[in-house]
Structures are given as C-alpha cells and as structure tokens.
C-alpha cells in the first residue's frame, strides 16, 4: 500500500513516457478487439466502431488512467500555472505594474518586520536572554551618576541578593576614544569599555578565540589584558589568526590580547546605541575606582524560575544595606527606592515599542493600499475577461475551478512581487544595518532571517488571497447570461463593478490620508525638536579630544596634593593649547570642558545656599562640567555675570557658574534679593563656592526632554575627567581639523589622530531615532500617496474608456470639451473628497495613539490635516486630469462608430 503515493508522485514526473505507453497499450487493445470482431464476421468499419464503443471512449479511458495513476490536483495546478503565465505574459504592462506595486508593498513590510523583529520581538542576542535584568534607579535629573552604583554597593548587592545566578556591570563613564594604541607611528584612538570580570559569564558570551576575563585579570597588580571585538580585530589587526598572546602599547602600557569576541557580540548595539566599542578591558573593583562614587551599571542574571516581582522584592530588601561608601556609614541606605530590576530587553528597546508599532502599522497600511490597488486592477481586467469566464462556465467549468484559476493568477503575481520585494527589503535592511550613527539599539544586528522569510511568505499569500479572492468571487458569481449578453462596455455587470471599484478607491484614499496625517505630525514634531533652544550653538563649533598624560605628575589624583599637582600641570598645558588654537586665523573662540552636552555626564551631589536649611527631600544634584575660561563662549552658551579666568587659581576663592533653572531653584529657597544668584555663596560637601555667573540652561541629556541643571567648575580649581577642546570657527571643517591637529601634535607628539567632530553631530545623534522614524513614515506616506494616485488614475481612466460611446453621444449633442473635462474631474474629486473625509475621521480617532510620539505638536494639528487634504486633492486632481483630458479629446464620430 505504502508504495502508491511515491509511485503517484513519480508518475507525475514521467507523465510523457507513461502517456506514450498508455497510448500504445490502448492502440493494441483496439487492434485486438478489431481482430476478434473481424473473426466474428463483421465488416472492418463495423469491427472498428464496436471496438471503440466497447472501450467506452478513448479520451475517457486515458483520463481515468491518468487520474488513477497520478496527482490530478497537481496536474490542474500545472495547467492553471501554464495558463496564468500565458495570460500574464500577454498583458505584460499590467503584470509589470502589479508586480511592482506588490514588490513595494511587500518589500516595505519585510524590511520593517525585520526591524521590529530585531528590536522588539526577538530576544536579545544572549543565551536565555529572558533571565537578564538591568538594575537601575528610576530616572532622575542627575544623569548617569544617579543611574549607577558604587563598587561598595555592587559588592553588597551581589553578596546579599538571592534572586540572581550572578550580577555584573560595566564602567559607565568610559568616553569615546579613551584608548590610544601605539603601533610605531602616530597613536590610534580607539574606544574600550571596562567591565567587571564576570561580565561575559553573566551574559553567556563565549570567545571566538582565546579566552575572556577571569577574576585574576581584575586584581591589583594584574598585568594589563584586553579582549578585542571582532570588528576591531578585523579592521585594525587584519584578522590576525595568531593575535592571542601578542602585546601592544595601549595608553602607554604593554597590554596583552587574551581573546577575540564573536561577531555576534556588539556592546554598542545593546548598551549604548550608536556608539562604536572596539575592545573590552577588565575593571579593577579594588583599585582606585573604589573611591570614585557611582560608576558601575548593574546587570543581573536571574536564577531559573525567579520572577521579576520576586527580584524586585529581593532588591528592595537589599537596598537599605547598600552603602555609597562603606567608610562613610551615613551613606548607607542612600539607595533605598533606587534599586529596581527591569528586563534587560525593556531597558534596551522598551521605549521604542510605540514608534515601532507605528512603523509597523504604516507598512501594514501600505500593503492594504497595494492590495486594494491590485484588487482594482484585477477587477478591471476581470471585467474585460468576463466573457472568457462565462464561456468557460458554459463549457462546464465549475465555479471553484474558475476561482482557483484566478487565485493561481494572484498567487503568481504576489509570488513575483514577494521575490522582488525581498530584494528591495534586503537592500533596505543592509543599508539600515550600516547606519552606525543612528542611536537605535541592535540596529547593527539587523538582517533578513528565517523569521523574515516566513513573514514574506505569509504576507504574500495573505495579499494574494486579499486582492485575488474578492474579484474572483465577484466574477465567477456573476450571471452567465448577462456576461455573455453584455455586448460591450457600458452596460450591466460592468456598471456594478464600477461601484465596487469606487468604494475601493475611497478606501485607498482614506488609508493614504491616515498615513499622510501620521507622517505630517511626525514631521512637524521633528521640526519642533530642531527649533528647541539647546542652550548652546552647535553650528560652526567642533570638538576634538585632546590627549594628555597625568601620570607623570602624580598617580590617579587620589590625594589632595597629587590632585593639586595635576591641576597645576594641566593648567599650563591647557593655556598653551588654547593660546595656540585661538591664534589660528579664522578661529573665533576656543575652550575646554571634560564632558560635553548630549554626551556623558556626572553629578557631584547637590550644592546648597550657605546657611539655608536643607529640605527634607534634597533635589538630585546638577550635572558637573569642569571647564576652562572661554568654554562657554566657544559653545555659544549665553552667560550673565563673569566667565572664569586663569586667575581663579587653586589658592583664590572657589568659584562656580550655575545654570539658570538651578539658580532659580536655589533663589526660591534662599530668598536672594531680586532672585539674583551672582555673588552668592553655596556650599557642597563642606566646601564654599562663590557663584560668579549664571549660564543659560543646556539640554545635556536629550534635545527633547527638559533642560536639566548644570554647574560649571573652573578647571583651574577642580579635577577634570577628560579633555574636549571646542573650537568655534568659520573655517571649513577639514582644513580646520588639519590645522588644529597639527597644533596639538606640536604641543604633544603623542596626540592621537582623534576624530574632529562637529558639535552639530552630537545633536544629530540625539535626534537620530526621531529622524529615523520620521523619515521612514514619511517615505511610506509618499509611497501610499503614489499608490493611491495610481488607483485613482486607474479607475477614472477605465471609466472614461468604458463611457467612450456615451461621451461621444453627449459631445455629438453639443456638450463642450470643457464640460466633459469638468465632469470627469468632478467625479475624481468627489471620490477623493469622500476618501479624505473618511480618512480624516479615522485619523482623528487614531491620532491619540501616537500622541506620545509627538513633540510640541497636537495630534489634532489643524495645519497637518489641512496640508494632508490639499496634498491629496492635488494628487487626485492630477490623476484625474489625464483621463479627463483624454475624454474631452474624444471624437464623436470615431466613438460612435466603434463597437
């Protein structure tokens, strides 16, 4: 029995041979029968007739044989396919348009699905990623310093939490270009992140080569080791297969490469979107970082079976015993309410959920519009083919057979569209994955994977059924008689179809309308974000990281004396740097800060007006910037009062500049006369600071959020954490970069070839997610508009063709060209208006859903809605004008003679 299916399949493929064999067999049968009949004494003609009659029909015998031996359904499918290719080939124009529309719709969908899948649906690229949690306090004003923990707190949390297999973390304040690799010539800048030794074990990352860190690598006095990322290993070390064990001069220390990470691990993609990390180094928790305050972020791997709620309870129970610094008992308990685990996945991409869903809906609408368009095209075609179908029905084709023929056609179309669309999606995804500057997590891991292929198949089939089944049922359900009688365009069935097609066009316009409104609102939001006063002028300002070695003058700056030595040594150097760069012709202002807005930040507690009682709930501290004289002017931050000078030295009064909002806050508590902060004294941790100026509020964490509070310390009095030189100049960036780098090299031959970055690029980077979504949604809206225009054109153009005779008669009876044109155009605009009305109502209802994605824009923004309506009417007008023009050119004589 089991033989049979296999033989049937085989029979399907060797059909020709089997058919020939059957032919011979039947021929032999007839010959044998004739012979016997002749023997019985019949005439040759009679003998043949009887033989054939007894066989019961040659063709029937063959059909039965084929049916018994092969796969009838597959045969039919092949027939349908053959027929489909023939009909589609004959109508190449239609086929090309249909496939292109589908390719655009499916391509957009697959690409966006890949993005959604990567960022939202797929687990993070770690084993058992659902066990990973990010442990942080709820967001506050004081930036990274309030989102991280001290090493003492980390130890306490790790030792006393019961929910975790292990807890790890990384140093949150590594800045880009913090690693300087010397390979003989000019040092090469790179970026490395310090991680706690168990980092890779907790994440479940295994090395591609060599080994990863062990606790011994992070001990005091351990020899320096480094792990390379796959990308850096390829780029900088030419994928040297024997790299493990080699040592290089990094930051002046011989550092041994102990391993290479797999290509699948991208630190930046997960933890700091848009940043490029080249290498990972071990963080020595028991060295100097011990006293640096809040420096590490926490990542935990939950024990199997532990729920998030249990982990939260556990964390809340441990928090009171965690100390900022174990040597200061009063700092214990400062983390109460500030230890909250959330799934790592939520931390990485949770806030993008809404934007991604919006994007997904947008492409869904595109696909719907494409389907509606296709339905329309097929319906128009089917109307023209209704006689063909009626004839087939009259010849005995069942309804199911005709529907299946039509479905085969739509499947072939959508299959071709899906193939082409997959190509488009592949290109788009490739392009997106290489947009390193977009601050979206996991973007670099984007690719067309199995899930995306499955999704392609799913939407291709769904689309085929959507746009194919409806016209199929309509046509095959039609009345045979009517179709055969329907002597030409302009009567019966076709008129009914036209109503259906009008409804389809209205749907299409309504969908395009919703897309346009969405894109319009996002565009206006984006423009509003660009208009935000950031508190500094990014245009024409450039930043470059200046290298400087402190080690010559004193350790890590951990003693007051050493700190003073560092500060003094630096001051001399900075004065030289600023003096030399300011002297470059075309340079307007220069200054140095350790951190820059929209980059990294930290806080040093909350300074408070001297002599004023601290409130019970002390606000989170302002972000700290340690700057040189001239920095604020170079950044273009307006200042009231005076700037720092080189005379504000270690031995003079400690001075600070604070931001306007922070000054306002302090003034309300201190009741300063006239609310004027300049000249007042505040104290921080027992140190008195005189406010010498009030600077404009700077957006230091995001362009869209509130500007936070800032406090500026003079570099001449406080220890800076880094050196970012800001140059404001009218020179072209490339020329300026060369001159500045040359100048820096003259002062310090070890200056790395650091990147010369426009300050605008920080702003662009901060705005990049919004720009990303805005651009994509706008592109999809444009696509939707284009498809809708195509739909309108198709319907109007078809109806003009159909009414050629009617129009001819009316013109013969005296209708003017203008009148005919107006009528056709009027019909078009009526359709568009109906679509816009439906779309506007739907948009008003749906806009609330995207309200949270908007910035300073109402979801019911009148200008956007009006703009959308005008754009759609204009497009409808143009799409209707071409057929209208054609209608008005109809020659009555020709039209009446036709048919």
């Amino acid at each position: 029995m089991s033989l049979r299916p296999a033989r049937r399949v085989r029979a399907f493929f060797v059909k020709r041979r089997l058919d020939a064999e059957l032919e011979a067999e039947l021929a032999a049968h007839i010959e044998l029968a004739i012979e016997e009949n002749l023997e019985r004494g019949m005439s040759p003609a009679e003998a043949r007739r009887i033989a054939l009659a007894n066989l019961g029909g040659m063709e029937q015998a063959k059909d039965k044989h084929r049916e018994a031996r092969g796969l009838m359904r597959l045969d039919i499918l092949l027939q349908d396919l053959k027929y489909t290719f023939r009909t589609l080939g004959r109508d190449a124009g239609f086929t090309a348009v249909a496939v292109l529309i589908l390719a655009l719709g499916i391509g957009a969908n697959v690409a966006v699905f890949s993005v959604v899948n990567t960022l939202l649906l797929r687990p993070l690229p770690f084993p058992d990623a659902q066990q990973l949690v990010w442990i942080a306090p709820p967001p506050t004003k004081c930036g990274l310093s309030c989102a991280t923990y001290s090493t003492d707190a980390y130890d306490e949390f790790r030792a006393h939490s019961r929910s975790y297999q292990d807890v790890t973390g990384y140093f949150a304040f590594s800045s880009a270009g913090n690693l300087s690799l010397s390979l003989g010539s000019a040092p090469i800048p790179a970026t490395s992140i310090d991680v706690i030794a168990n980092f890779f074990q907790v994440l479940g990352v295994r090395p591609a080569m060599g080994r990863l860190f062990t606790p011994d690598d992070a001990r005091n006095g351990a020899s320096p080791v480094i792990v390379l990322t796959d990308a850096w290993w390829r780029r900088q070390f030419n994928a040297d297969p024997a790299i493990v064990g080699k040592a290089f001069d990094m930051n002046g220390q011989q550092t041994t490469v102990i391993g290479v990470l797999p290509a699948s691990f991208d630190f930046g993609a997960v933890f700091s979107p848009g940043a490029k990390v080249d290498a990972i180094t071990p963080l020595n928790l028991y060295g100097p970082p011990r006293d640096w305050g809040n420096i590490v972020t926490l990542i935990g791997r939950l024990k199997p079976g532990v729920t998030l709620a249990q982990a939260r309870e556990d964390a809340a129970a441990v928090a009171p015993t965690m100390c900022w610094n174990n040597k200061r008992p009063q700092s214990c308990g400062s983390y109460v309410h500030a230890v909250v685990p959330v799934p790592l996945k939520d931390y990485v991409s949770g806030r993008l959920r809404r934007s991604l869903l919006l994007l997904w809906s947008a492409v869904g609408m595109i696909l719907l519009i494409a389907c509606v368009n296709l339905s329309n095209l097929l319906l128009a075609r089917a109307t023209a083919r209704s006689k063909e179908f009626a004839m087939r029905a009259a010849l005995g084709a069942r309804r199911g057979r005709i529907v299946s023929q039509l479905l085969t056609e739509s499947l072939v179309l959508s299959g071709a569209g899906a193939l082409l669309g997959l190509g488009l999606a592949y290109a788009l995804v490739f392009w997106l994955a290489h947009q390193g500057a977009i601050a979206l997590p996991l973007l670099s891991t984007l690719r067309i994977d199995g899930a995306a292929l499955a999704w392609t198949l799913f939407i291709a089939v769904t689309a085929a059924v959507l746009f194919g089944l409806f016209p199929g049922l309509r046509i095959s359900g039609g009345n045979l008689h009517e179709a055969l009688k329907d002597s030409g365009p302009g009567t019966g069935q076709s008129r009914k179809h036209e109503r259906v097609r009008s409804v389809l066009v209205v749907t299409e316009v309504a969908l395009a309308c919703m897309l346009l409104v969405g894109a319009g609102l996002l565009l206006r939001s984006f423009l509003s974000v660009l208009k935000v006063d950031l508190g500094f002028q990014p245009e024409r300002a450039y930043a470059i990281k200046v290298d400087y070695q402190d080690s010559a003058v004193g350790a890590n700056g951990n003693t007051p004396a050493a700190r003073l030595a560092v500060v003094q040594h630096r001051t001399v150097f900075y004065q030289q740097v600023l003096g030399r760069t300011a002297a470059i012709p075309g340079v307007e202002a220069t200054g140095i800060s350790d951190f820059l807005p929209l980059g990294q930040n930290r806080a040093w507690g909350t300074p408070w007006p001297k002599g004023v009682k601290l409130p019970a709930a002390l606000p989170a501290g302002p972000l700290v910037y340690v700057v040189t004289p001239g920095y604020l002017r170079a950044m273009g931050t307006p200042l009231r009062g005076r700037d720092f000078t080189w005379d504000d030295g270690p031995n003079s009064d400690s001075v600070v500049i604070i931001s306007q909002s922070f000054a306002h806050l302090l003034a309300t508590f201190a009741h300063w006369p006239g609310g004027n902060a300049v000249g007042q004294i505040i104290s921080n941790g027992g140190q008195d600071l005189r406010i010498i100026g009030v600077a404009a509020d700077v957006h230091e964490e995001s362009t869209e959020g509130d500007a936070g509070w800032q406090i500026y310390y003079p570099q001449t009095q406080a220890g800076p954490a880094g050196t970012e030189l800001i140059v404001r100049s009218t020179l072209p960036p490339s020329a300026l970069a060369n001159i500045v780098l040359r100048t820096l090299r003259e002062l310090n031959p070890n200056q790395t070839a650091a990147e010369f970055r426009p300050v605008q690029s920080f702003v662009d980077h901060a705005n990049s997610p919004r720009r990303f979504f805005m651009v994509l949604v706008s592109a999809f809206a444009a696509l939707g508009l284009f498809l809708a225009a195509l739909g309108i054109y198709g319907v109007i153009s078809y109806s003009v063709t159909r009414q050629t005779q009617e129009i001819g008669i009316r013109m013969a009876l005296g209708a003017t060209m203008g009148r005919v044109q107006r009528q056709v155009l009027g019909g078009t605009l009526r359709l568009a208006l109906a679509g816009i009305a439906v779309g506007a109502v739907a948009s008003l209802a749906a806009a609330r859903l995207i309200a949270s994605l908007l910035f300073a824009t109402s979801p019911w923004d009148l200008a956007t809605y009006l703009g959308m309506a005008v754009a759609l009417m204009a497009v409808a007008g143009v799409s209707g004008y071409l057929p209208a023009r054609r209608a008005s050119r109809i020659d009555p004589m020709v039209a009446l003679r036709a048919n």
Partner: protein, 125 residues
Amino acid sequence: MQSSKLDLLQGTLDLMVLKTLAAMGSQHGYGIARRIEQVSGDQVLLNQGTIYASLVRLEQRGWIASSWGVSGNNRKAKFYSITRAGRRQLAEDARYWERLTGVMERVLTMDKDPDEALGESGEPA
C-alpha cells in the same frame, strides 16, 4: 446498451482483475476485459477502458506486474501478471467479499420476525 446490465460496485473491478490474472496467468488488458465479460455472461456493464485505470492502480500497489510482450497473433501488447502480494491481497479481498455477500444474502432473505415486532412497541417516540 441494455439497461438490464449490472453497474459495477466501487472496488469490485479491481478484485475481478486480480482474480482473472490469478486464474489465467499473464494476460493483456483486452484479454482481461474480455475474460471478465465472458465469465459474467455479458451481464456487467464494463467500459473496457476502465480496466486500464484499475490496472495502473493495482500495479502501483505492487499487486500486479507488467511487461511488454507479443500476443498469440503476433501483436505487441502489455502483459500483466499477479504478484505474490497480489495473491495475498486477493485472498483477503475474496474473504471479505464472501462475508459481505453472506450478510447481504441473510439481510435480503429475512422475514418479519418477533424481534422486529418487539422493536416496534419498544420505546415511545
């Protein structure tokens, strides 16, 4: 054609073909068809063409085998013969058929008996 001829029940043709081959040895399609017609006394309504559908079915199941040969009057024809599996199948089908005819026989010859009367008065509708 006469209306008095018997229509073949589904599946009976395959059994007839198997039995014919078992009884006659190797035979071509026409021979099998004629044989069945003769044995039935021309009582069955047999489209000879349907034999070939039956033959391909049986062959695909491995119950009969075929090869091209030459007939008694020197004609090239495809000859079929029953296989061992075919004989097993034939025995099985024949048993089944006998049981079925036995049952049909009893059902069709039954009289109105007491059980039936009881059944009628058994339960209220």
